[in-house]
Amino acid sequence: MIFFTIGTQLPFDRLVAMVDDVAGKISEPIIGQIGNTDYRPLNFQYSTHVEPEDFAERVNNARIIIGHAGIGTLLAAKLAAKPVIVMARQASLGEHRNDHQSATAKQLTNIQGVHVIHNTEELLQLLISKELQPMNSETGPSLHKLHAKLRSEISKGRLKRLTKNHPTKVS
């Protein structure tokens, strides 16, 4: 099964139409969450909204995730160690308020298991390819570094209730 999601905030007709096109050419079923998109798919099962707990389950059961280049989609795929195929929303086509997704997508091509597409042909090729590299669910060095930085910054804070009464006393 392939799980397709466009996130919760904005419609994404272009990608929904692309996935619909591809769904008619492959035998593997696609289940979609298409939000407020006007385009109504003919070739795959869809709902507009998926509850968070069902979302996690669908991601876990899927072989591949297809989505917009949103962080929610990427992190969900990462947690489940699945390959994720993403297409960026374009502001010029009214798909988002700005082009941050294209900028992010360019950078994402370096991350293991993230497959960035621009058209239907690229999507089809990825879906019929034998093995698609999955994302790595483990906490990588980059997140470890961020955790260490946060802990260090937090430790620089002063405790209000201690400094107020007995500056030196720690209960």
Partner: protein
């Protein structure tokens, strides 16, 4: 400081972690282990369903964006009440606008403030992040190219 996760350790800081639903919340969840090892964490989010699902101790904040001045004003008062109630020593936010407001009110209350700009902003810091960088104790970007190695620092990312 110990590694115990005991909920009410009085010698640990109270941390308010503010994040809107969606990608902001997901990123906060990636930071959660570092927060919970450092203090007593209370989350503030626009989507209580997500917080319940994560078994997190939380407060609900209204959702709004920068083009809704009346809602921002209401959000300011709500954040003020929230800060007075929780009295955080540390406020951390991954965005968006409601998180920025919590960070600002936290700053005014004397808390140490940490802004983690969303990884979605690869070419330019978010507007909220740019505002936060003017008063926050530290502003972190998740893209090395956006660091100025001073107020805006890069120290890894959630991906």
């Amino acid at each position: 400081m110990t590694n115990e996760t005991s909920k009410q350790q009085t010698n640990l800081p109270t941390i308010l972690a503010a994040a809107s639903g969606g990608g902001h919340w997901n990123q906060m969840m990636q930071l959660r282990p570092a927060l919970e090892i450092s203090g007593n964490v209370i989350f503030a989010t626009t989507d209580p369903q997500l917080a319940k699902l994560a078994s997190a101790k939380y407060e609900v904040i209204e959702d709004y964006n920068q083009s809704q001045p009346m809602k921002i004003l209401k959000g300011l008062f709500a954040a003020h009440r929230l800060i007075r109630k929780i009295k955080p020593d540390i406020v951390v936010s991954t965005g968006a606008a409601p998180g920025l407001v919590c960070l600002l009110l936290g700053h005014l209350s004397g808390a140490r403030t940490i802004w983690v700009d969303s990884i979605a902003n690869a070419e330019k810091l978010s507007l909220s992040g740019r505002i936060a960088s003017n008063f926050a104790s530290i502003t972190l970007t998740q893209w090395e190219a956006l660091s100025d190695k001073n107020r805006i620092q890069y120290a890894g990312s959630v991906l």
